[in-house]
Symmetry: C2
Subunit: 272 residues, 2 copies
């Protein structure tokens, strides 16, 4: 895995839709030499309400699409797929596979001083207890408190991340967690980094926010270095985008997640 | 089609998920003698972002499931499926098929005096222009104004229909329509009847709200009568529920839509 050829291959990133673009954005910022290929499985979004078996099948199909494009590392930038399909992908693919849950859990365990950690996410992620299990596996002494915030994703997709309505809704969702005296809060959904300022102002300066997207980008940096896979650079990095349904909405809404540089997305035939 | 046997058969109602339960509720209220079978295609929700071909395939699979259960009439209680699959279902099934768009459009055309009609719905329904086309087909002199309200569905599913946050969001979404001096507003989404009070108080007493669910129930009444298919009654009506993914969330959230009587739902193998 040390040949120059492999080093220059792209990183593959996939999500059920748009949210994983926050992870991609942090990867691009943390690793400016790396080319990436992103796939949003927009024809089959959301994954959260589907069964474990279905998620594993979807994840396998998407991973094969990216592996066929010669990626050197796969990032599963989707909480549901990270919770259900990571073991399967790791056992069948011959590239390193990184999910979003383990890096977020590790960062939370490192950050907490009081051992009282909150986790917010979609209904599906919270019901799966994936973050709590990952945190407990690292340190069983930590107490976790959870809150599903179902309106956060549609609010972000509507472009209302900085809106006063969103601040009111955030205050309501987070009021329970505030009574539990946590010192660390995991943003357990790839959409939530866009709400970081709002959530921070509700929780106050004593609560450390853990951004899973950021933590995942740092994990990618570590794994590339450890495997001697980092791109030595020398030309500006390229970012390619694929979707499984009409690119229109992906481009409009996705720009708020990724910023400039998301101008076109090709249609990918995955699991058709 | 006049045998007593056929009259006593149930009405089939389907939707991509939970929203169609408002249509079912109005059918049950308007036609208290009728048995019903409801199918929510919760494994494949939402339909709104999927292609025409996919929607037609889904609708056909769901319709066959219901027809195999001896329904005497099919209600497509889903805006997307009504827009894309109605012709296909009508040409292949030998029972009457009623969608939600035509009844809503007809009621709006009857109600308007100024010829200025507003339509609200999901992004997909508004983009499809299905209501505007149906209204124009009935009366080309009517001017239509549209507004997508993407947060209404998640707000209703969160149980915040009567909440002050929802009132603030409704006021914002509807402010544009208010400047257009409409006298009639079509609630073009099966979730919106739960927001009727909020929307009415934003629009004021001079705007008549058209509830597609109500209009569809009245259409079912008319078609059953015209075809001599009404159930003569004599026993209390039964309502059976099927879903294509885990019933848990359907039952919790669905109760807010249908009211008491939604206690269990069976898993249907559709398009597996």
């Amino acid at each position: 895995m040390l040949s120059k050829d492999i080093n220059r291959r792209p990183i593959g990133v996939f999500d059920s839709g748009i949210g994983g673009l926050t992870v991609l954005r942090d990867i691009a910022a943390t690793l400016p030499n790396e080319d990436t290929i992103y796939l949003g499985d927009t024809a089959r979004v959301p994954y959260g309400s589907k069964s474990r078996e279905t998620i594993i099948r979807y994840a396998r199909e998407v991973a094969y699409f990216l592996v066929a494009r010669q990626i050197k590392l796969l990032v599963v930038a989707c909480n549901t797929a990270s919770a259900f399909a990571l073991d399967e992908l790791r056992s069948t693919l011959d590239v390193p596979v990184i999910g979003v849950i383990e890096p977020g859990a590790r960062a939370a365990v490192r950050a907490t001083k009081t051992g009282r950690v909150g986790v917010i996410g979609t209904e599906g992620t919270i019901r799966s207890s994936a973050y709590c299990k990952a945190i407990k596996a690292l340190n069983p002494a930590i107490t976790t408190f959870t809150q599903a915030c179902p309106l956060f994703v549609p609010l972000v997709e509507e472009g209302w991340a900085g809106d006063e309505v969103t601040a009111v809704i955030a205050a309501r969702y987070l009021s329970g967690l505030k009574t539990h005296d946590i010192d660390t809060l995991v943003l357990g959904c790839t959409h939530y980094p866009l709400l970081k300022d709002t959530i921070a102002s509700v929780m106050g300066p004593d609560v450390r926010l853990i951004d899973s997207a950021e933590a995942t980008a740092e994990e990618v940096l570590r794994v590339l270095s450890a495997n001697g896979l980092a791109n030595p650079g020398g030309k500006s990095a390229s970012h390619a985008f694929f979707v499984t349904d009409s690119p229109e909405r992906f481009l409009t809404v996705g720009s708020r997640f990724f910023g400039p540089g998301l101008e076109k997305a090709a249609l990918a035939a995955v699991g058709a």
